[in-house]
């Protein structure tokens, strides 16, 4: 060994030289470059939300040409949005669990039991709606904690634990409510979530204010990224995306601000249903948590490579438990919204298709069943797709068996897309 080899190599010590080595890394993308980057991502198996949005457009075209008189009426669209709300909330709750590659098969019935506790608190104990809702959410949180402990600490696969809870919780609801019984939702606020709408003027103010805040945040972020010359999408693309969102939201607000009562001379039904705002608020909250906090980042990391996350000092078990708590608590909210729509809680609440619809919604929206990939908004977009299929098929008066077959086929299709894109991801990655 000679002495020369031990002297530090002078290469790449000076930043200017290094910067030229690094010239491939362009921070300020043009519209064409972002388009190419998107095509690359699709080739790599990551299609984002576009397929679900495309599917939604196709479904709207199909159903409105088959049932032009009813499907596109404001009354039906408002109803569709309310139908979508409980599915979307449940799907949003499931997404953190799915991000870790786990599943919660009991989320639907956990929501049913929680809603049962809320309804019973009001009807049998005369509690106020706030306390009743908190009780329902606490029931959900405890269920999630129990599931999470069994999965993370005992190491039982989540599939098995939650299948057991799926059966057990239905028994608990039956005990609470009684065979063949129902508990009515006897509270104007809770009923109002799904059957009342925000006054038209207030609705406009809220929608416009939200859009203005969002535009401000986007603009501010873009400016800060540009100031430090960091990686950012072209401003034109940001403006284009925001424009599309604004057109859709403002268009919907205008559409729902008309009086949609079947008999407009006697009744007035107008404005955006409160349930839509509830979904929006939950989506904004969780998107923020999963996109902007260390907690959210760590959840994605565990979903991508659990061992790497553990070596980075992340408490994998605690975070895994937390996803089940989030899921069951969101399930409780979903169950309460659902009971608001049907007007009561029965032993069958949250059973049947409920969970399958929510898992379907998440997967259709673009969340992977293999973990590590997905966004909170997937639950909302997918929930809209599922509710549209459900609603449209209902208007077509098809036999029930056709609805089952079609919904099952759509779920299978979404899962296939997920599996195929996962194979593409591992084929392009090394």
């Amino acid at each position: 060994m000679t002495d020369e080899t031990k002297t530090p190599a002078p290469t790449s010590a000076s930043p200017s030289l290094a910067a030229s080595d690094f010239s491939g890394d362009s921070a300020n993308l043009t519209l064409g470059e972002s388009l190419r980057a998107y095509v690359d991502r699709v080739r790599g198996g990551d299609m984002g939300a576009l397929p679900a949005i495309g599917g939604l457009v196709v479904l709207f075209i199909v159903f409105s040409s088959l049932r032009p008189d009813t499907f596109t009426g404001a009354l039906n669209v408002a109803n569709l949005l309310v139908q979508a709300s409980s599915i979307s909330i449940l799907a949003m709750g499931l997404i953190p669990v799915l991000l870790l590659g786990d599943i919660d098969l009991s989320a639907g019935v956990a929501g049913g039991l929680s809603a049962g506790f809320t309804a019973v608190a009001i009807v049998r104990h005369g509690d106020g709606w706030v306390l009743a809702v908190l009780i329902g959410m606490a029931v959900g949180a405890v269920i999630g904690l129990a599931i999470g402990l069994l999965v993370a600490k005992l190491g039982i696969p989540s599939f098995v634990v939650t299948l057991a809870f799926f059966l057990g919780l239905q028994g608990a609801t039956l005990k609470l409510i009684g065979q063949g019984g129902t508990v009515p939702v006897r509270n104007d606020v809770l009923r109002g979530i799904t059957i009342k709408s925000m006054p038209v003027v207030t609705g406009w103010i809220v929608v416009i204010a939200l859009l203005a805040i969002y535009a401000g945040l986007l603009f501010w972020r873009q400016r800060r990224l540009a100031a430090k010359d960091l990686h950012r999408p072209p401003t034109s693309l940001v403006a284009l995306k925001f424009g599309a969102l604004a057109v859709i939201l403002l268009g919907m607000t205008a559409f729902l601000s008309k009086n949609r009562a079947p008999n407009p001379l006697i009744f007035t039904i107008e404005g955006i249903p409160y349930a839509v705002f509830l979904v929006g608020a939950l989506m904004i909250f969780w998107t923020f948590i999963f996109g902007r906090t260390g907690y959210g980042r760590h959840i994605y990391a565990i979903g991508g490579n659990t061992e790497a996350a553990r070596r980075a000092g992340i408490s994998v078990d605690v975070l895994r438990i937390s996803t089940f708590v989030i899921c069951s608590t969101m399930a409780a909210i979903s169950g309460i919204v659902s009971s608001s729509y049907t007007g009561n809680v029965s032993p069958g609440s949250g059973g049947g298709n409920t969970l399958l619809y929510a898992v379907g919604a998440a997967v259709i929206g673009g969340t992977s069943l293999f973990g590590g990939k997905g966004n909170i908004r997937d639950g909302v977009i997918g929930g809209l797709v599922i509710a549209t299929i459900d609603n449209g098929l209902g208007l077509l008066n098809q036999a029930a068996y056709i609805n089952f077959i079609i919904t099952g086929a759509v779920l299978l299709l979404a899962a296939s897309v997920d599996a195929i894109s996962r194979r593409r991801r591992s084929a392009t990655g090394t």
Binding site: P15, H298, A308
Partner: protein, 259 residues
């Protein structure tokens, strides 16, 4: 000779009935590259993970700057300034380069939110100082990188922090000639900056070029701890393959016992 920055004494580690490390002593000096060599399965990666706090040693003492320390979790090692480049790289494919580099130690804004601006800036500077030419964007997902690029990201992740000791577990295994050159230069540069560096490698040319000391492991035992200038290629190969070479190394009886 200066005091070792990191010292391990008598470290034992078993997985169930299989004892993988037997009373391992290791000294890492500041400003020096210590090469850790040994056949596949000798226990090199296990030793590194024990220092990183991923495995808990069954017995043995750890000293950092002469003071006894314990490694109960990955954060313990990191807080002492010990960084590890793992053999399997430990990257999350679904996260981008910046997110991987800061995993578990994200920069936060005063409001406790992720500070993406600071992280991207620092990641770009660190990568630039490692002369990473071919990366399209630091916001690229790690899944889209080549084997060599992934290895560079893993190394960049370790040198991002103001570390005192860096352990690199076969960092050049997936690299081409030019990139291997860069990593070896980097290893030397880190040591010249006063860090204690442990390099695990099977390539004897690399080991002899860059190291100051060589510790040879044979079936979980330290066969020899030598100054690089006092030994030669064939002696190290003998120590790796049979645990002894002439008068140095572990006795035949001990070697057989652990085989």
């Amino acid at each position: 000779m200066t005091e070792p920055l990191l010292e391990l004494r008598g470290v034992d580690k078993s997985f169930g009935p299989v004892q993988v490390l037997h009373g391992v002593n290791l000294k890492v000096y500041p400003g020096q590259v210590t090469a850790l060599v040994g056949d596949n399965g000798a226990g090199k990666s296990t030793l590194v993970k024990t220092v990183a706090g991923i495995y808990h040693a069954d017995a043995g003492e750890f000293f950092f700057e002469g003071k006894p320390v314990t490694f109960n979790g990955p954060k313990d090692a990191a807080s002492l300034g010990i960084e590890v480049v793992y053999q399997d790289l430990a990257l999350c494919d679904n996260l981008d380069i910046v997110q991987n580099m800061f995993l578990g130690r994200e920069a936060k804004t005063p409001t406790r939110l992720l500070d993406e601006l600071t992280m991207e800036d620092r990641a770009r500077q660190t990568l630039a100082s490692l002369s990473v030419r071919t990366v399209k964007s630091v916001r690229q997902s790690v899944a889209s990188l080549s084997g060599g690029q992934r290895q560079t990201v893993a190394i960049a992740k370790a040198v991002l922090w103001n570390s005192r000791v860096v352990l690199l577990d076969e960092p050049t295994a997936a690299l081409g000639v030019a990139q291997t050159r860069q990593v070896l230069d980097l290893v030397r540069r880190l040591a010249d900056q006063g860090l204690g560096v442990v390099l695990i490698s099977h390539n004897m040319n690399d080991v002899f070029e860059v190291s100051d000391r060589i510790t040879a492991l044979f079936l979980g035992r330290v066969a020899a701890d030598l100054k690089t200038s006092d030994t030669n290629n064939s002696q190290i190969v003998e120590l790796i393959t049979s645990g002894r070479s002439g008068s140095i190394g572990i006795s035949a009886a001990t070697a057989n016992e652990s085989a």
